[in-house]
Structures are given as C-alpha cells and as structure tokens.
Symmetry: D2
Subunit: 269 residues, 4 copies
Amino acid sequence: MDGPDHKGLIFTVTKVLYEYHQNIIRNDEYVSPSGYFFMRTEFEGIIDPEIVLNALKESLPKGLRLRLKSDKKKDIVVMVTREHYCVAELLVRYAFDELGANIKAVIGNYNTLRSLVEKFNIPYYHVSHEGLTREQHEEKILSILLRYQPEFVVLAKYMRILSPEFVRHFPEKIVNIHHSFLPAFIGANPYRQAYDRGVKIIGATAHFVNENLDEGPIIAQDVKRVSHRHSATEMAKLGRDIEKSVLSEALKLVFSDRVFISGNRTIIL
Amino acid sequence: MDGPDHKGLIFTVTKVLYEYHQNIIRNDEYVSPSGYFFMRTEFEGIIDPEIVLNALKESLPKGLRLRLKSDKKKDIVVMVTREHYCVAELLVRYAFDELGANIKAVIGNYNTLRSLVEKFNIPYYHVSHEGLTREQHEEKILSILLRYQPEFVVLAKYMRILSPEFVRHFPEKIVNIHHSFLPAFIGANPYRQAYDRGVKIIGATAHFVNENLDEGPIIAQDVKRVSHRHSATEMAKLGRDIEKSVLSEALKLVFSDRVFISGNRTIIL
Amino acid sequence: MDGPDHKGLIFTVTKVLYEYHQNIIRNDEYVSPSGYFFMRTEFEGIIDPEIVLNALKESLPKGLRLRLKSDKKKDIVVMVTREHYCVAELLVRYAFDELGANIKAVIGNYNTLRSLVEKFNIPYYHVSHEGLTREQHEEKILSILLRYQPEFVVLAKYMRILSPEFVRHFPEKIVNIHHSFLPAFIGANPYRQAYDRGVKIIGATAHFVNENLDEGPIIAQDVKRVSHRHSATEMAKLGRDIEKSVLSEALKLVFSDRVFISGNRTIIL
Amino acid sequence: MDGPDHKGLIFTVTKVLYEYHQNIIRNDEYVSPSGYFFMRTEFEGIIDPEIVLNALKESLPKGLRLRLKSDKKKDIVVMVTREHYCVAELLVRYAFDELGANIKAVIGNYNTLRSLVEKFNIPYYHVSHEGLTREQHEEKILSILLRYQPEFVVLAKYMRILSPEFVRHFPEKIVNIHHSFLPAFIGANPYRQAYDRGVKIIGATAHFVNENLDEGPIIAQDVKRVSHRHSATEMAKLGRDIEKSVLSEALKLVFSDRVFISGNRTIIL
C-alpha cells in the first residue's frame, strides 16, 4: 500500500489482520520526508486474501492505494538490439522458472538475436528502424506490445531512445539497464567516457524509464574495479557482467512487487 | 523487544502506541525459524516513554523482554595489546562525539598505547600478564572493570584469550574484532593462513565473545581483494583497515541498540 | 614461462625479443618466496613466434618451462549434475564466441540438463551413477573424456566427489566451482552452515581440483552481503549468481593462459 | 621512469641492471594508447643506486624521465576546514609511522581542529578567510606553504575552492578527497544530490587537483551501498568512512612513488 501518511496506519492494518486471523510474516514500511507512506506486509491465514483486502480498504483512509500481490507471474515483453547477454540471462532464468515473469515475446530492431530467442520457444519480432521515422518505428513496436498487453517492458540492451509519447503508454512499467553508474556518464559511449575520465570503478544501473532519458527512478546499481590497464573496450566487456546481474537483480525486485516509486526515487520494501 | 512469538504482537504494540498518541517512525521485526520474535520500534510523541513502556508491558504476554533505548551514551571500557589502529579509531570518534559511547578507560597488557590514549584524556591501565597465571591476570583486569561497571567491553586488538570464567561476567557484553573472515582461519596467524591457502579475498569479523573462542555471534564483516603479490605481512597491513572499519560499524549498531542475539546469530533491526 | 629463479632471466628474455625485433606489449613477472620464477610476456613482431620461442629456449637456463600461448581455443568438457545456471552461462558465452574455449561435450550424472545443452547443439552424455560403484562410474566418464582429450574439464556444479585416481588423469586441468568462500564451510551444505554460523557475507570459490577435496589452488573468489533475513535457501539462491560469475571469471583467466600454479597458490599474470 | 615509447626500453633497462649486478624484484610497465611509456622497477644490489641511475640515463634515449625512489619520507602540509575525520586518520598514521610522509604543518581556515592537531605535536596555522578576498587568503596560505616547501599538499576536507593561480604553484602535487563518486555529483552538496537522484551506491574519490575543479586525475575511488532509508545526512555520515579510507589508500600509493600521471588519467605501477 502507499498514499499520504496518517497517524495510525500501521495500527489499523495490524488490527484488521488480527481480526481476520492473519499472521504477519514480514512488515516493512517507510515514510518519505514529504509525508508519503509506503508499506508492504506479508501475511498468511486461511481467509481469502481478497476479503482481507476489502476489509483493509474499508478501514483505511481514502487516498491510500492497496494492491494484493498475486502469485501469478507477470507477463513481460523484452526489447533488444544486438547484444545478447542480458536477454540470454532472462531467457535462461525463464526456462528454469526463476524469473518471476513470463516472457511473451522479444522485439529487436535487428534480427541478430532471433536464433537465441527461438531456442527458448519464444516469438521474436524483428522491427527494423531502417527507413522509418522514430514515430513510424515506435508505432510498429507499439502495435506488437499492445497485442501482448505486458505488465512490464524490459529494455535488455535496446539501444534506441524512446520518445516521451511511447513511454507514456507504459508509466512506471519500462525497466532499462544503463551501462554506467548513473548519473555519471549519461549519454552515448559511457565506457569510452569512463576510460577518458580515468575512473577506477565502473558500474551499471537498472532504472525505470520516464520521459527524461537516463533520469528515471533507479532500482539497482552495482560496480566493479578497473585499472589503467583496462581499455575502453575491456571496460565495456567487464561492464557486461555487471549489466546483466544488475538487470536481473532489479527485475527480481520488480516482479515480486517490492519496488515502490516515490518521485524520482524507488522505495524497496 | 524480544521473546517467544505470539499471534498479534505487532497489533498489540501498535494499538498501545496509537492509544498513547505515539507516532511510529520505523518498525522492524523478525521471527526466527524457531519461533522467537524480535522487534525494534522507533516512535515519538509527547507522553513520557516510560509510561508507554509500562502500558506495553501490561498489554503484552509475559515472557517478552522490553527495553527502552535511552539517549544516554553507553559506558564502555576498551582492552588493547600493542596495536593502535582500532583503539585510535575509537578515541577519535569519541573525541568528536561520534561513537555513541563514553570510553571510561583503556586497559592494556602492554604499556605501548598509553601515550596515545592519554592524549585523549582517558585513563590507561597497564596490566601486564608477565609472571601471572591467566587467572591472576584476569582478576586484576576484572577489578578495574568492576570499578567502571561498563555496559560493554570492547576488545580492540586485545590479543590474549579470555577464560570462560571471565567472559561469564559480561554475557553478550564483550565485542571483539577478529582478523579474519570467520569462520575461515580460526586461531592464530590468520593472515599467514590466508596467504598459505592462496585466498583472493581477506576479511575481518566483529563478534560478541562467548565462552567458545572465535565462535560468538557475528555482528559485522567486511572483505578486500588480494592477489598473489600480497605477502602475509602485506595482507596483515591491508587487513588493519578492514578490522578498524568493521569494528566501528559493529559498535555503531551495538551502541544504538539495534543488535539482538538469537542463539549464535545476530538479528540487526 | 616458469621455473627456478636465476639472475638475469628478464634481461635474457628481453634481449632475445629485442634481437628478434619483437615489441613487448606487456610483461608481468613474479618470484615466489621459495625462489620460483613466473613470467608472462606479450610481444608482437613479424617473425614466427615458434622461432622466437626456440631462441628463448636456447638462451635461457635449463629447467625453465616455456609455453607459447596459441590463439587456438581450448577444448573442454563440462560436467554437471542437475543445476543449470553455471553450465547455461558457459553455453551462452560459447554460443556468442566469448568463452575462449570450445565445449566439446557435457556429461551429467542426471539427464535433467540434456534439453538445455542440446539447444546449443552440444552432445550431452547421461552417465548415471545409480547402481554403480564410484570406480565404475568414473570409468564410464573417463572413457568419454578420453575420447575428447579435453585440455580442461570444468565441473559446473558437478555434485559428486571425484576420486584421487580420477583426478590424477587431469593434473591442474580440472576447474571446480565451490559454493562457499573457501576455506570457510568446507564440505556439504555450505549455505546451511553459513546460515547457522550467522555470517554477514557469503561467497563462492573457483579452484583447481587436486587430490584433496576443496583444497586445490584458488583461482577466483567473490562475495555478497546477506542479513539475518536470508534463510539458508535464500542464501543458496543468492549464491548461485556469485557462483556463476566467479566460475566465468576464473575460466576467462585459465583459458587465456594467465594462471600459473605455485604449490597451493595461483599466480595470475 | 616515463617518456615517449621506444623499442627496446625494457631490454635496455634490464641490460644495465644486469651489468650492474642488480636483482630485479618487481617490474611493471605500461604503454598508453598515445605511445607514452611508464615503468617502475624495483631492484636490489650492492652498488650505489645513484650510479645505476646514471648508467641508465646514459643508455636510454633522451626525453625519458628517470627518478630514484628514495627511502626518505615525503614532507607534506595538510589543509583542513572543520571536519576532523580525514586529518585525524593521517595524524594517527603519522604518529605510528605508517603514513610514508612527515606532516610538517596543518593549515585550517577555521580554528576547530587546532586541539586535535596539537595533540600530535604538529604546528597548526589558522588562516581565516573572513574579510579577505580569495587572492589575499591564498597568499597568506602560500606564504606558510613556501616556508615548508612540501612535496605534497593534502586537502583533507578543505572546503574552499583553490584558484588556478594557487594550483599552478604545486603542479601534480595537490591531492584532494572529493565526497562523491566522480564524475557523478560534481559541485556542492553531493550527498544531497545523491539522495535526490535516489542512487543505491555512494562513493568518494581521491584525485590530483588541477586547474579545473573536480576534474584532476583520479587516484583512488571506493563505494558503499545505501538504500531509500538513508537520508542525505546519513549518506554524508556513511560517506565519511569511505572518504577517509580512500584518501589513505591514495596517499599510500602517492607517497610510495607508484602513481604516474598520463593526461587526465593515473597509471599506478
């Protein structure tokens, strides 16, 4: 649940759960400095959770948003360009039922990754951007996405910029992996930039995409040490391992409903 | 609070706090697999917290242990041998009011660190072990400790083994820094052992001391990378920085009443 | 090259390379405390490297071992049990020409991973251990291995103990991934052990297999932080990501001829 | 040594060392993409190193810069404002002969740290900036610095911007600790910026100061994980530990002559 903070919110929730004979397994809450309340409660009992949810809704002040985490896996569509390592990680996890999501389709603006994706019996759509305006290209992608109605769109090294219009179709629903430790090295060629700046640590960032490129709420980040011996190319290679593990970690959190968005920050409960 | 788990504990606590017009700032709880309940609640309001505590005690099942975190700093005594870096860290933090504790005295089995300690206007007791049995030596230390009645005893590179009898005087009250990533390299010369084993990462462990040497509940650990180029001596030097930062981190948690003990594990809320 | 240390070894090598108009790109050497010399030199020039190698051999003292790193990829066989994540990582890297090795075959004592392996067009051999003595089982595996003559055998979560007799067939040629931060938690169920000990950091270790289980030279290690909230099962899940990335990192070093063995330690140049 | 790359440089150095009966203990070299050569050689023998140095100079092409690392500790002056933790770390290391440098004096634009510094018997100069132009203030500082002729000036949380004119007096000789993972969060209040951006990792950077603020060559960096629970203030507190350990690590490298500068990058040999 999240919404404007009120006195007694935790009390009210625990009271309802107690009255409905639910056992609280874990409870995490956070109140932002601006007075917004976030809480994630794991509970178990023999009563239908929908009934408990309704009781909670009736007892709590209006304006609070309550959601029941379902055990149903999220439906997702993955978008790629030519790099395989992030999507391969997702495909393997999906194949062994570790992703917490169903990959309904993969869309690529190149055809490079078709054979990998089809090994895992997932439809691959090649939507080339060549000869198309951005608008035309995105419209084609959109028509595929709308067919699948995904709960999340994962940009697994999709290397083209999405227009604000496109993003608006999926508010807080697009997860991207950015090949730098944001906000350092925003923009193109971050490993080249990192090499030129002589940093001793490189990183990657998984974030929600909003209308401002590279500036959406950060979900997960990780880093590795480099030295002067790493060329920009070697940094990029090393960076791949960070990128795929950071994307995996972020998706694990997102798909288990543990990520809340508060302005430009994520609250992970 | 901690104690055997019961249904409705969180509800009862939040109910009392609500009735006493307390605002919950943060609430963390944990139930161990063996059914033991731990909870730390930060709340604020205008009523005397002692009154709230009593109300909580009356409402909660017997067998639960409740403590009120006071703002009073903990009184501690630090024990050392000859290495300066851990105690120096504590002295500097204390001097700038960052330790969350009052260092009442430092006891050393050598006199090496007297001048450092006295720079900070803290009494230094040199209790040499030479010519004494362990029992006699510990008795001398004990007589100083009992004079100060410290809430915690910090072993900041105190390199002698304490007898179970000594430890029994300070149950869950002695914090030690161990120069290895426990449980690897228990015993003497851990950096030598680490070198011989050819590990690529070394570490340090802060833990409570119980009657079994090196086996008390772990509070904090950290690690650093090493390579074949590090000799055992260089590993030891590098290890010092880990040791002092791990000890600091552990003490920060302990002195702010965030560490609970559950068998041989710590619960940090 | 490696061998007993002598004065002037670096001079002799650089002299020969200079005379043969080779340009040194990178040169790393290490002399162990016991007086053993290790050096890896990257050089380039227009003369056939075999000729340069011979010239080096003639100029250097007897007893030094020289090898020319070939650009040829190593032939390897991978052994598995039922867990997919390490072998999947290797298969994907191989498919995209990033492994530095050719996976000639995968041998499993279960049939679980056949479908994954065959997606990548690699032969899968199911050699069940059921009803066989260790000797009989290993003989069957050995007959497959000998057919492929692999330069390295990679144990990618092969969960059975290999006999010293088996290991002796592949001296310094078997790489294993161990699911703990060795030497902590040697033996069975390391994540269970880690949970019980209450550690705050878990890890994984890639090492060469020698005749003493879990005690061969360590190639790479990595760690992640855990808290009291992680059950043993959750630690194991988190550990998988460490295991696969540590195994990858170790193999990258091994397959590029950067790993030397010095007693029970690796020298990585 | 460093300078434009030539064929045979390593050969020439090892030849001279061989002829002068020097034993090479360690040798690291690096050639930058722009063709600049860097090498650090540790050698030992019974001949006066100055004689060996002269022989090397005669054998090597003009344009190469050779320096002999002396065992003499560097003379340094430390500049501070009001925060104690970095200078305290340096004072303690110096007091126990672990710094590799002599702290000749500390200059502060506040008087806050006088008592700490004087505990360690080091002169403290309070040079207030109040009522002075930047030029006047820097001139006063400069007059003190020139008296001590330090080999390095360490900015240990000196919170004022130095003018290019001031910096030009100490080319490649001023080391600063910056409270962010550069180049992220350049400028004021980096922890506030980090909080607002919602990063999951914070860091610190030790770098040489050049005429462009925050943009000199990076020597060392490190990071720690944070979560949404950390306020900007708590990030700043946590950041202090990173800052002091990163500054220490950087100075250890600098004072042992292991840091070369190549444009805006450091080469650490």
